[in-house]
């Protein structure tokens, strides 16, 4: 993975000093609340329901074992011994003290980490496929391009005070889109032209939040050398023309929708034409330098396949389930990618204790070349594990509640921190997740249901991505009481991306698990053997589901 050179290291060291100074000026009254707000947000510091929350950047989800150990130490020393993986692959600490944040940043900087631009109206952490570099069907490794974008966007002087936040994701997979690029302000799909040059198909104006919109394609191909110039033009057009009168209409998606993609493209092209085209041209030297950080580890290639594990899986159903659910095929013979579930029943989805962090760091050193990844589904990944080692790894994980074999199932849900922590939330989301996980506690039944993405957001800001779940749950406030809207039919894949449709009036918290059961029952009763939940929703439409979940109320 990327290693800082002196320029990168100076940048984060100097950032610690800058932020320490800003914090001091706030504490001594030189900076007003209003003036400090964007400065602390650009450093990921929110003032939440219980305490300040610090969001630490994990650029495109890549972590080294020593970095995870540092996160564990920080959460022990400055927080309450746990962290939370966010849907932008970052880590959030829920109980930090504002005046200690500069010290935390100093510790982060010592392991090449930071909290730069993890919030605020600026360019946020670039996200990508958690299996980047090891997945099949990849046009190119997206991580070097993510790093190029990280450096370009870090402290970009022109784009620190945009109308609203700005999120970019990159996908390089031709089969799957694990980065949900069509729901980003800018989505980049890596492609090759007829001469095999790497470039980007560019999508713009997607997003979730209170106005979910699927991005539109603005370019079929932008050559890699020109991508930064292109992004600068998009950002400049947005910075100058995006709405600033209403924060709910300030995202680029509203502007693209209002103008239409053709008029928006014309503005971008006009800005591009006015620029010196050489100025931001990426150089082969720089790309080679960054690519060299992402070379494959020293694999011990072998012909061992998952079939070699049948002796153990035959007698050990727990291990068998885990192999079936939590293992992803690796492009290198003899290796597998392993997803560690942070979704054990009863735990807040995405939460991880400091003890688990330390264990995972050790396991990464032992089994996966000292590297690991976070996922936007709020899990972690060891991407390069020898198939021979899977059983010993499983034993170690199972001891620490990290081997829950539910990846891809209904219980592997995306869930925001909700009303338990977040100051913006209208309703709690963690207890809803728990109630559903308890309702669906039969693993064999869960496996029989197949892949179903269930996403929960505690408010319409949609941090839990409820719009793009097969089943989405949204917390709403009705005169001080928490209610939940249920939608079905959302989908974030490249082909057929769609936004879920609300079934009808919202439900009380104690009804949600029952409603989900009814939706699932209807699916099971109507499916053919080949059909997934998503297929059945498309074939039947919403009406039968609607009738089913509201039938009892009428009676």
């Amino acid at each position: 993975m990327y290693q800082y050179d002196q320029y990168d290291q100076n940048m984060v060291d100097e950032r610690v000093n800058q932020y320490r100074h800003q914090t001091q000026r706030y504490l001594d009254g030189t900076l007003s609340e209003e003036q400090f707000l964007p400065l602390r947000l650009q450093n990921g510091l929110y003032i939440q329901r219980n305490a300040p929350m610090l969001r630490i950047a994990i650029p495109y989800g890549m972590l080294r074992a020593d970095q995870l150990r540092m996160l564990a130490d920080i959460s022990d020393q400055y927080d309450r011994g746990y962290g939370h993986i966010s849907t932008r692959q970052n880590m959030q600490l829920n109980w930090v003290a504002l005046e200690q944040v500069p010290d935390i940043l100093e510790k982060l900087a010592s392991v090449q980490m930071h909290a730069i631009q993890t919030s605020g109206n600026c360019i946020r952490n670039v996200t990508t496929d958690q299996f980047a570099g090891v997945a099949f069907d990849e046009v190119a490794d997206p991580r070097p391009w993510c790093e190029v974008l990280r450096q370009w966007s870090t402290f970009h002087p022109e784009f620190a005070f945009l109308p609203r936040k700005f999120k970019i994701a990159i996908n390089a997979n031709t089969d799957k889109d694990r980065a949900a690029i069509k729901f980003h302000d800018i989505g980049l799909q890596i492609v090759k032209d007829a001469q095999h040059n790497i470039g980007f198909e560019v999508w713009v104006g997607g997003g979730l939040g209170r106005t979910p919109i699927i991005a539109e394609k603005i370019e079929n191909f932008v050559h890699w050398q020109d991508i930064l110039g292109y992004l600068e033009s998009v950002l400049r057009v947005y910075n100058l023309n995006g709405r600033r009168d209403n924060k709910y209409k300030a995202r680029i998606k509203i502007m693209v929708k209002a103008l239409g993609i053709d008029a928006f493209r014309a503005l971008v092209h006009k800005d591009l034409a006015s620029r010196d085209q050489q100025q931001l041209k990426l150089t082969q030297h720089e790309i080679d330098r960054i690519h060299n950080c992402f070379t494959s580890p020293k694999y011990q290639i072998s012909m061992t396949t998952l079939d070699s594990l049948t002796d153990i899986t035959a007698i050990n159903p727990g291990f068998r389930n885990w192999i079936n659910q939590n293992i992803t095929r690796h492009r290198t013979p003899g290796y597998a990618a392993v997803t560690l579930a942070l979704k054990a029943t009863g735990e807040a989805p995405g939460d991880i204790t400091s003890a688990q962090m330390k264990l995972i760091a050790n396991l990464a050193d032992q089994y996966s070349f000292g590297e690991l990844r976070t996922t936007h589904e709020q899990n972690m990944v060891l991407s390069d594990v020898r198939i021979e080692d899977l059983h010993s790894l499983w034993l170690a994980l199972a001891e620490s509640n990290l081997a829950t074999p539910n990846i891809g199932t209904l219980n592997d849900m995306i869930c925001c921190p909700g009303g338990d922590f977040c100051a913006l939330a209208n309703a709690k989301s963690i207890p809803i997740a728990k109630a559903i996980q308890e309702q669906f506690d039969d693993l064999d039944y869960l496996y029989d249901l197949g892949d179903i993405q269930l996403n929960i957001s505690g408010c319409m800001n949609a941090c839990g991505h409820h719009h793009i779940g097969d089943i989405g749950i949204l917390g709403v406030d009705k005169k001080g009481e928490e209610f939940y809207q249920v939608s079905i039919g959302g989908h974030s894949q490249y082909k057929g991306a769609s936004i879920g449709k609300i079934l009808g009036p919202s439900f009380k918290s104690d009804q949600v698990a029952r409603v989900i059961s009814e939706i699932i029952d209807l699916y099971v009763a109507n499916r053919t053997p080949e059909e997934s939940f998503a297929d059945v929703v498309i074939r039947l439409g919403h009406q039968p589901f609607k009738e089913k979940v509201y039938a009892k109320k009428a009676a």
Partner: protein, 157 residues
């Protein structure tokens, strides 16, 4: 309201009025007033432009002014950063571009990188404090006032 002006790394106290004739220079008039063609005395005059102005509106900008002022009505409204960049890159204007209005010291370095050459700042800041804000970072990934090239073109990493 008296403000301090930061220009080329130095602090100067200056009394700035946004529109109309005043007896002591420098002062500013709006773009509309400037283009309307009245004659102003003395000649040190700035043209104050609102951040929502289109760059095209400056195509026929009358010469003879001392500087272009870009108005920030709120420090968190970042349009001025892009506007100044455009004035440099599209109009190739090489004179003084001044950031005017409600700015905070933490924006000084960003403003200079986007092409501003002078900045109005609150009177409460003193010279000692200002120096910390001019170069918070010894390098930057992007281009800056001293160099039009981004880091990857500028140095051999």
């Amino acid at each position: 309201m008296p403000k301090k002006l930061l220009k080329k790394g130095e602090l100067h106290l200056t009394d700035i009025k946004t529109t109309g004739l005043v007896t002591t220079p420098p002062y500013m008039v709006s773009l509309e007033e400037w283009q309307a063609g009245e004659t102003y005395q003395p000649e040190k005059i700035g043209v104050l432009i609102q951040a929502d102005t289109r760059i095209e509106a400056l195509d026929s900008l009358k010469p003879g002014f001392d500087f272009i002022g870009i108005q920030f009505n709120s420090f968190s409204d970042g349009r001025g950063f892009s506007f100044a960049s455009q004035i440099r890159s599209i109009l190739h204007f090489e004179g003084d571009i001044r950031a005017c209005g409600e700015l905070i010291a933490d924006q000084i370095a960003l403003l200079f990188k986007c092409g501003f050459s002078s900045i109005e700042l609150p009177e409460s800041l003193d010279e000692m404090q200002i120096s910390e804000f001019v170069t918070p970072f010894s390098e930057s990934y992007q281009s800056h006032l001293q160099s039009p090239a981004p880091l990857y073109q500028r140095v051999n990493r």
